[in-house]
Symmetry: C2
Subunit: 246 residues, 2 copies
């Protein structure tokens, strides 16, 4: 089976690092990418500092198949993502005629701040999927998204089909048993190395269950067999619920 | 004025990168640290892979005054944070007698999985603040937290006083005006370089305002003066609300 393509997410914004705003873009992108068979390997929140953005973008671009950035592409002084990406790859920042026209359709006379929103790293591609008022900027393997969650969602969903890979199936088993009691059984199953990825997530203050165990695989038959293996090792009255494969 | 101490946050967990769970620990820690005058410079979500955790922890430990990790300290196969930190610094993983006694008070006979939860990197310090059922593990400048949000919160709040620095004041001004129209006025104020940090955050689909501008400084007088400077540049009917300093 072909290995999944990899991705990294970079959230650019002081507002997240100072706790003024809760980031929801990582959750949205991670979920959407995972459901399309893309493996997100790292997600990073970094401040509005050109050198820091440039270094992170370069590093992620080399390490992962796809990079998704969020934030820093508006008209104000702290919107420096485009400049940082240009600097990271040693290209100029230029005005895109397409973006400029798109801005001009909305404003009679462009101010310097508005013109700034038409800037791209030289060599960037514009993805103009139907329904988008403003095309998405792509440079090399980097997809440059706005930080506003609603805009990021719309833009991602408009181009989501580009990322469809082999589907990953997920099953979840909820237990009413201490994680340390389940651990030896889980260890035995993990030791099989049968291509099914297993995660164990305890919760507290939940009246329904104490541990959720997740099973993931591109092979739904192997997935089902592995779930059954674990269920056979745990007394039935400790099993709250089995969900999936989905 | 003394510069703020710096911090980095490392969220360890495949469940975040696959979008199964929305991370809330970064938001909580960022907010708490910022309110104590600590500047969070980077927050990173990484998978349950020993080498990846070891590299990130080492890097963050060298770059920042404090490092906070979340996740990977339970009894199961995917709980490898302690082992990764030991490896990062070339020390052994050892059983802590204090943690072992703490476990033994809760269980009659410790299984290997339970004993695993008493492991620490050799040389670790245990912080046993009143009210905690299980002490917090600290190694060098790294504070090792559980990933379960409710536990992380309790443990952080129990030791929060350790991080109190100079207070940072925050004011927010909400505008009903396009960000690109506000941008030139903001740029002029940013150019003053008067120690007040300014952020501009547009929203969409909000009936009350279109842009929130934030002002931050350890000097509340400079902060107030800067807010007034911006207000003088914008027509009064475009200002929705001024909040702070708080």
């Amino acid at each position: 089976m072909k290995p999944a393509k990899s991705a990294g997410i970079i959230i650019i914004g002081d507002e997240i690092l100072t706790g003024k705003v809760q980031d929801t873009n990582t959750f949205f992108l991670a979920k959407e990418l995972w459901s399309r068979g893309i493996s997100v390997r790292s997600a990073s929140v970094i401040p509005d500092i050109t050198e820091v953005i440039a270094r992170e973008v370069k590093d992620f671009s080399e390490r992962f198949d796809f990079v998704f950035t969020s934030g820093g592409i508006g008209p104000t002084h702290d919107d420096i993502t485009i400049e940082a990406i240009s600097r990271a790859f040693g290209v100029r920042t230029v005005i895109s005629d397409i973006l400029k026209s798109s801005m001009e359709r909305r404003h009679n006379h462009l101010t310097p701040a508005q013109l700034k929103m038409a800037e791209v790293p030289e060599g960037a591609e514009l993805i103009d999927d139907n329904g988008l008022t403003f095309p998405l900027i792509k440079f090399r393997n980097i997809y440059i998204f706005p930080g506003i969650p609603e805009l990021l969602r719309r833009k991602f969903l408009a181009i989501g089909d580009r990322f469809n890979g082999p589907r990953i199936f997920l099953s979840k088993v909820y237990f009413n048993e201490s994680e340390s009691v389940l651990a030896p059984s889980l260890d035995k199953i993990v030791a099989l190395k049968n291509g099914v990825k297993i995660g164990s997530y305890p919760v507290i203050d939940n009246s329904e269950y104490t541990v959720m165990v997740t099973f993931e695989s591109v092979d739904s038959t192997a997935l089902d067999a592995t779930v059954q293996l674990l269920l056979a090792k745990v007394p039935g009255d400790k099993v709250v619920r089995v969900v999936g494969p989905e």
